[in-house]
Point group: C2
Chain length 724, copies 2
């Protein structure tokens, strides 16, 4: 790519960004849009604008994002969002500290050498741009100037270690401070137990569980809740909820039809058959009321059956104090290690009920099968896509769907189709990939939503590092390169070193596009805005439906974190080879940090709280990126035939040692709750009954509020009704 | 080696064995020897013979060993000995089950082929023995008879999996049954805490520890004992004990000198200088009494100083119930994972006091440094030995120690010296190796003796597998082979396959020698017998000294287990290539099992009890041997140019999967005590004060029994004086 075209692309991106910013300023002030731009504030019952509509300053949100303290972020958006911000901030710190030394040192060192000129002279058709002159490519082979590269690599590595260590400590403190202060933590009193062995004859699982835990924790056991097979009861409950929604909707429609001219209105009707298109016509309100009346006793009966007869081999155990639960969750219970496996209970809202009864060996096997599938997906996803692309040619389309012939044969449409048809399979695949990975992670048998997101994030990280970063860099078939590498493992170092410099300009543009366009769209929320207004106009009738339409969801860490990781890997890898990329990285992560803060404070509503358990994964992956970088540099400097290239070798080893130390030093505090933390704020009394109720799934909630004693089937009576 | 010489060596070994057996029968009945042959029974206060002297049956001990049940063994020799017997028994089971199929199938398959004859014809100087005809070497290349080899390998592998799975389950049951029934387990109430952070100013470590644990375990904390630096107090105490022994000895000498002719006797004297050789002559009894009087107040003062001022950053925490201690030991205490590290307390008698205060990072670093040293020792131990051997030549000896010249120059002595001098360094090294490895393991910072023995056993296992087994097999410099292997990792498979068959006869002889001579010596206890009688005659005066002279020690698992492992590896690796080795292996392990039972019941006195924590290590190493075997077979069958050799490939993978499953399934029950086990026999009350006292090291024990309240410096007062 030439310098001019690079500048053009940069300017275009910037213009788009400015336009999106202005759009954001304008749109966010329009009444009716506040639910798209300030849903979090509305959700918390605050005034979305707080007199902000007065100022017409398009960068006011930046000030607000900067003014908020970390404690504010934790209070509003939870620890997970705060930890994500720490991650962005850490990477920013690494890049700024690296840039401070690398830019003033490496740019002059590179610019004053003449390698490109020399090779251009000897190679008549060699061309080079001013951009290339500022990169390491301009240093001659064996030049002592390459010492600057080695020192640069060391500097970046040590800066990374320093920042990561500080950040890990900081996150650990956030976690330990937030946990005892958090108000809604019923899970602190509970332990999840899986792989309960078969109950002795004549005993239900519930009796078995109660007996076992009462004998092992005579003083602290409160009660238990056995996991049940809720498939059928869920179905009935969903049907019931569906009719309730329909009823509410029909009532609104009926109310609206009561105009002045027609004070009685028209009662809405619908058809009972498939999708409301066929079948007999009925009065919607009456029909729904009837159905609800019919389903209520059915639900109650099924609830009873479920609680009594569909008990699974997993349970939640409630203790009467936090330290007792924390201690029990970490203690080996059974001599047969694969039975009575205990762990800290996840939050009620992120518990994946259907995964809980999965057995020990089943979980192991599922996990490895899914690792296998992911491995195949990462390396060979192109094969089915190429196959599908070969099927979806124009000729096939004409043969299979003859009625399209007339449209397809028009020259303009034909050209477009010919250009895009082969890509469709790939585009669809890439769009569906996060969902697919989420599905696979869930199928592993993981008990909590946050854990599934972590697992997805890991899988997606491998996918984009291998396919986007290495794919673009090594360019050409990854499978061929892989074959070379597997046969000659040492080949990967020169391969990386040789391929990287060529793609520098491409990645510069890529990073710029990512932040200008990507962040512009993120901030202006154009897509959710359009979807919300369309839904509101054509679909939503009731309050609840409107609320559902603007519900912003949470940060989707599963894809967001790996994408940031990709940018970080790219910037790190080029930091010494083409130091000009560092400012781009700095802009990406500082803008990202600002916008993520804005979104955390005003937009997204967290759907779970894992108290920063994502951090160790982020930490390890930043180190993985660092190792890729160090190996690349080793290859690159070796290719320059520099005698002292092996001086890089200690760096990857150091990185591994650092990762190992950090793991030993911090990890267990993320995997388990420490007794220190559990014993804080002990005086605060908690209503144990409400702790217990928080875990009852909605489909098993008693329909009549006075009927609280129904839950005796799978759930024991409290052994001590007094609260702590 | 020819067949005749093999038979000769076999017969010689057998004759030695019979002679040793007869010696044992004769010697064990002689009065005065019972302390060598039945020390365990004497130690437990039983009659050593129980009327057995009547029977002159040389194999009576076999009957006794067979009649004893496992429960007897556990009661007498502890769980560790029982687990060692399970190990021997399991290997025996593997070999017997393998032999049942392999011998009747493989021997005829091999014997009826003609490969050796053919190669002998083509190769004029080729020779072969009848023994070789019964081995796989006699099967022609590419012959379909090689299917029998593949199936044999599968059979052996599955038999191993089956037996090991059963054995792991069995050992797990032994462990869980023995733990709650064991009477003397003060460690069940204690937790070891290391890496205590610096105490706040003005607080001693003891205050700090008490405050911390009282706040985290308000209901169950009993008291604490801070580890102190006992170097100085130990020295004084040892000096004191030395004088006490000398005093007792001098008194006995004095009593003995009172003969009828000289009723007053002669008071013994000694010199006070170096080794009692120089210095002024003093009356021994008076001198010792004086010294003891002098040292007693010194000891008391030092005890006080130690307890108050030499507190280290580690402590033992005592709880008032077993489940509380077990639960606390498995719970993360501090948010900073590298502080307040808790673990189950080891038995008082196996606690390595000096290792306890070692810091987290120090332990990590020590561990890796020592792994490095062991690696160098395993691979390069020959270098210093060759160097030392080159120094200890006859010429050097003559030059350095001229006074030896006259002896050295005698032709007979010269010949012997020339033959053995070069070996001396090697022999000395091999004799010192277990001690060296034990020292290295201890230096890792491991807190308990049994763990040190496990670590030593692992190191010794690697040493003998690499140097004896692979050393003999690949024969020639191991380092050269290593170089080949490191450069072409796949080379190891054909290398093993090609080298193994040549050493078959050597290993047959080796195994036979091991069991006939080794076990003969073990059973007849000739060496301890001679040493005991020499000591008794010339050194021992007092009762205590005699007792010390016959103290049999315990099974030295650190060297015993790896040696058995070596035999097992050898037999497994040859099981298909030369099936004749299987009967030898069967004899080795059945004799070994019998003799180990005899020694466990009558001889050795266990010095610690780890409740079978050795088992997971044995298990993994049997599997390691199996993998070596499977890889060898892959190489061997490939070399026979058999097309279906890759059918072996799934086996090593299966072995790794099996090891992984077993680890997941059982290991944690060995690393931690389960709550189930801790909650058994809860009614049995325990005197908490005696639990506490059991951990006080002898040098810190108050000299006057009434002075029990001295220990306030490093040890807290009980927070609840009532027992559970």
């Amino acid at each position: 790519m030439e310098f001019a075209s690079f500048l053009t692309s940069l300017c275009t991106s910037f213009v788009i960004f400015v336009v999106l910013m202005l759009l954001f300023t304008w749109l966010s002030r329009k009444p009716g849009n506040e639910v798209v731009y300030y849903p979090n504030r509305i959700f918390r019952g605050l005034d979305p604008w707080e007199g902000r509509r007065m100022t017409r300053n398009p960068v006011a949100w930046i000030g607000e994002a900067l003014r908020a303290s970390e404690a504010d972020v934790i209070a509003v958006a939870g620890v997970d969002a705060a930890v994500y911000l720490v991650f962005l901030c850490s990477v920013l710190g690494i890049l700024v500290l690296s840039g401070i030394l690398l830019l003033p040192v490496l740019l002059p060192v590179a610019a004053t050498d003449h390698n490109l000129k020399l090779s251009a002279q000897s190679n008549s058709n060699g061309t080079f741009t001013n951009l290339d002159k500022l990169a390491m490519g301009n240093i001659q082979e064996q030049s002592p100037r390459l010492w600057a590269c080695i020192l640069g690599t060391y500097w970046v590595s040590f800066v990374t270690f320093f920042v990561l260590w500080k950040a890990y400590k900081h996150v650990n403190n956030i976690r330990s401070a937030a946990k005892p202060n958090s108000l809604r933590t019923p899970e602190d009193f509970a332990v999840l137990v899986r792989d309960i062995p078969r109950a002795p004859k004549g005993q239900t699982v519930k009796d078995h569980v109660d007996l076992y835990f009462k004998s092992l924790h005579p003083d602290t056991f409160y009660r238990s809740m056995v996991i049940t097979d809720n498939k059928k009861v869920n179905k009935i409950w969903e049907e019931l909820e569906g009719y309730r929604k329909k009823l509410a909707r029909a009532e609104v429609v009926y109310e609206e039809s009561k105009t002045a001219s027609k004070p009685d209105g028209t009662r809405p009707t619908n058809r009972t058959g498939f999708l409301g298109l066929i079948g007999s016509k009925v009065d919607s309100i009456d029909h729904c009321n009837e159905k609800i009346k019919e389903l209520l006793p059915k639900l109650e009966a099924e609830q009873k059956v479920t609680l009594e007869e569909k008990q699974q081999h997993a349970a939640l155990i409630f203790f009467n104090s936090r330290p007792a639960a924390v201690s029990a969750a970490q203690t080996l219970h059974a001599q047969m290690v694969d039975t009575w496996i205990v762990m800290e209970a996840p939050e009620p809202r992120q518990l994946i009920w259907t995964n809980l009864p999965k057995k020990f060996y089943e979980r192991q096997i599922r996990q490895y099968v899914i690792y296998g599938i992911v491995f195949l997906t990462v390396f060979f996803y192109m094969i089915p896509i190429v196959f599908i692309s070969s099927l979806t040619t124009l000729a096939n389309l004409r043969r299979l769907l003859p009625f399209l012939k007339h449209i397809v044969d028009k020259p303009a449409i034909k050209t477009i189709l010919e250009a895009y048809l082969p890509q469709i399979a790939l585009i669809v695949f890439m769009a569906l990939l996060p969902t697919l990975l989420m599905f696979l992670s869930k199928a592993e048998g993981i008990p909590s939503q946050s854990h599934v997101v972590r697992a997805t994030s890991g899988k997606y990280f491998y996918f984009i590092i291998f396919n986007v970063f290495l794919g673009v860099t090594i360019s050409g078939s990854l499978i061929d390169s892989l074959k070379t590498i597997l046969n000659h493992p040492k080949q990967i170092v020169p391969l990386l070193g040789a391929s990287l410099p060529g793609s520098a300009t491409f990645f510069l543009t890529f990073v710029a596009l990512k932040f200008f366009v990507g962040y512009g769209l993120e901030l202006s929320r154009l897509v959710p805005l359009v979807i919300f207004h369309l839904k509101k106009k054509f679909l939503c009738k009731t309050e609840a439906e409107v609320k559902e339409a603007w519900a912003p969801g949470d940060f989707s860490y599963g894809t967001r974190v790996p994408n940031d990781m990709l940018i970080m890997t790219v910037v790190l890898c080029y930091s010494v080879i083409a130091p000009l990329i560092i400012p781009f990285g700095v802009v990406y992560f500082s803008l990202g940090w600002l916008i993520a803060r804005n979104q955390a404070l005003k937009v997204y509503i967290p759907s779970y709280e894992s108290f920063g358990r994502m951090w160790p994964h982020m930490h390890v992956r930043v180190l993985a990126a660092l190792v890729i970088y160090q190996i690349t540099m080793l290859g690159y400097i070796s290719l320059k035939k520099f005698l002292y290239a092996p001086f890089i070798v200690p760096l990857p080893i150091l990185s591994v040692v650092f990762a190992y130390i950090c793991n030993k030093r911090f990890y267990r505090a993320f995997a388990n709750t420490s007794l220190e933390v559990a014993c804080q704020n002990l005086k605060e009394t908690s209503n144990l009954e409400s702790v217990y109720t928080a875990f009852i799934p909605p489909s098993l909630m008693p329909e009549k509020l006075d009927d609280g004693n129904q839950f005796e089937g799978a759930q024991s009576q409290p052994s001590r009704p007094t609260a702590v």
